[in-house]
Symmetry: C2
Subunit: 369 residues, 2 copies
Amino acid sequence: MPSRPARPRLEDVASRAGVSTASASLVLRGRPGPGAATREAVLDAARELGYRADRTASLLARRRTQLLGVTMDVSSTFHAELLEDLQAAADERGYDIVVSPQTRTRDERRAIESLLDFRCEALLLLGPRLPDAELAALAEEQHVVAVGRRARATGVDVVRAADDAGVGLAVEHLVGLGHRDIAFVDGPRGPIATLRRQGYRRAMKRLGLADEMLVVDGGGDEESGASAAAALPLALPPEPSRGHAAPLSGPRKATSGRSRMPSAVVAFNDRAALGLLDRLRRNGVDVPGDVSVVGYDDSFIARLATVDLTSVSQIPEAMATAAVEAATQRLDEGRTEPIELVLEPQLVVRGTTAPRGDRTTRGGGIREP
Amino acid sequence: MPSRPARPRLEDVASRAGVSTASASLVLRGRPGPGAATREAVLDAARELGYRADRTASLLARRRTQLLGVTMDVSSTFHAELLEDLQAAADERGYDIVVSPQTRTRDERRAIESLLDFRCEALLLLGPRLPDAELAALAEEQHVVAVGRRARATGVDVVRAADDAGVGLAVEHLVGLGHRDIAFVDGPRGPIATLRRQGYRRAMKRLGLADEMLVVDGGGDEESGASAAAALPLALPPEPSRGHAAPLSGPRKATSGRSRMPSAVVAFNDRAALGLLDRLRRNGVDVPGDVSVVGYDDSFIARLATVDLTSVSQIPEAMATAAVEAATQRLDEGRTEPIELVLEPQLVVRGTTAPRGDRTTRGGGIREP
DNA sequence: CGCTCGTTTTAAAGCGCTTTAAGTTACGAT
DNA sequence: ATCGTAACTTAAAGCGCTTTAAAACGAGCG
């Protein structure tokens, strides 16, 4: 039970050190001014009293709060990773982070309101779903950085990865392994999926595989990926029979209007890829022996030894650093023109991709260390 | 670019409404006192000005901050779920939540410090790893609620699920399905694993299956679960051959000193169960045909249609509500004696458990709606 | 020595809101 | 009319810290 013995105030430290609160304040924040003797006295007093500044009071007195507000989707592992790096980057620049999770019962608007109440100096929105108009409106009152999403809203900074190029990397990798029939499992409607699909189409055309293009409906989660498996001309039974399924009995005409069976699939993201993988394997399709699969996000799950999914990384560290950088540029360096920073994604080759038709060799290309 | 047009202060609202700041403050916080006319005038003025109180100033002036600090492990989906419910529960009681994530580069201590700086009135620690002594020390200065972990630290409130009973439920379920050889995949050293293991042992004894007990080393993640598969006398090849493995060729003597093959496995948590599942299936073992598997946590991942794992739920909603309740009891109702709240977990039956030796029927018992 | 200048220290004025105690008003009761 | 009281309203004192403007103190100099 906290006895709340009136936690020490700055005044207590000051009087104990025999100086004014002004000097004490200066010393404790490491500002120049006070002489060596004063300095030491204050520091000692503070230590002895176990003093810790009341942030609320500091914030009120200071004009600045040095607070960056971050909205995130708690259920997204990608956001969780970003958060880690954001925290580190902010720390380095002397900022603190307030995170405001959005949940089923607490939408993005609500999350943002909460951040405004905290008087954050800039808002970093991870994968915001707010319409551009609203983003733009918000940007008139606050510094806002949209992370991981393309945004055509005036005034907001954007830090994102070149998703089209990322999918391009995946396609090139597969083509390098001899694949030609490469399908794409689409994501949920939105700017991100559009861009990734575009990347797929362009890459296929560029590599002379325009005729082999196949985009099937999907989504952003495991279930969508699993159901996408059914839509692929992969000779799967209509309903998945769990357990000992008969091994792949050869290509069979599918409903999708294309008869050739893809030997490789690029999925919208890792979660979809995971669902797809699971469904394929349960149906006796060997990955990567029969089909190679590439995900997107290089999420935690892709890296698991038991999953070992080849994936495209959005390099969260770089994104986080860039996002914080964007915010501090505005706050500390007076930048006023919005910027859009597009980072180049990286392909991380793991065990779900192999040379075409190769039923024994696993993987290919550079393996992660 | 934020033009920062001097956001309106309470004084602005007050003068526009033609009243004092005192009245305005009262009205805006819905406190009794001001008459209807004043009320309306203030509300109108506030609306017109787009006024929003400066939380920092409010906090400073009020003695209370109405803030609950939560530490969590961002990478834990269980924590993410808890957070959702915590947020809702806190909201209901007029508290706000500050979350302080712990990451690789920011340990629990650091996370707590940050919360203290925010002047939180109580600390809710999700699955704290701090040693009991440190918890106890913290509890002398602050109200602290340890969530999801047993703690023998004086002064801290504890809200957790009866993990031993939870594992008991799993065992009973399996026995009800005719299983007798039920193995347990252990978790990482710590109070949680100890309790669950205990639950397993007791249940087995209670059901007259003391001789069939088998505990194998495991851990808290997918990899540990996968490697546990090797330690089970399940006739698995020493190295997992990915892809088309020969189907299970019958019981084979294993290294573990017990020859009978378990027909069911209870894993320390869902992640371990997942690794185990994956390894088993890749080796041609049918789940639940050959072996039933039960996880723990009823995490997001267990619920995925593609995973559909029978699991024990720690009922996060109840835990979250109880945790917030514990905090508010201390803050608002003057409770000073520490409490330990032990919630009864629930078994959620899904598709990874089936009657023993039943290679066709899936599941058993009550299915989730 | 008296004066100027640079360095160190501090008194005091807030930051924007809450709250207490005192002040008004209005009104029915005496 | 007069008083008491209930119902509002408000002036003013902080909350704990930062910061500005001015004071204090020496040192250096003519």
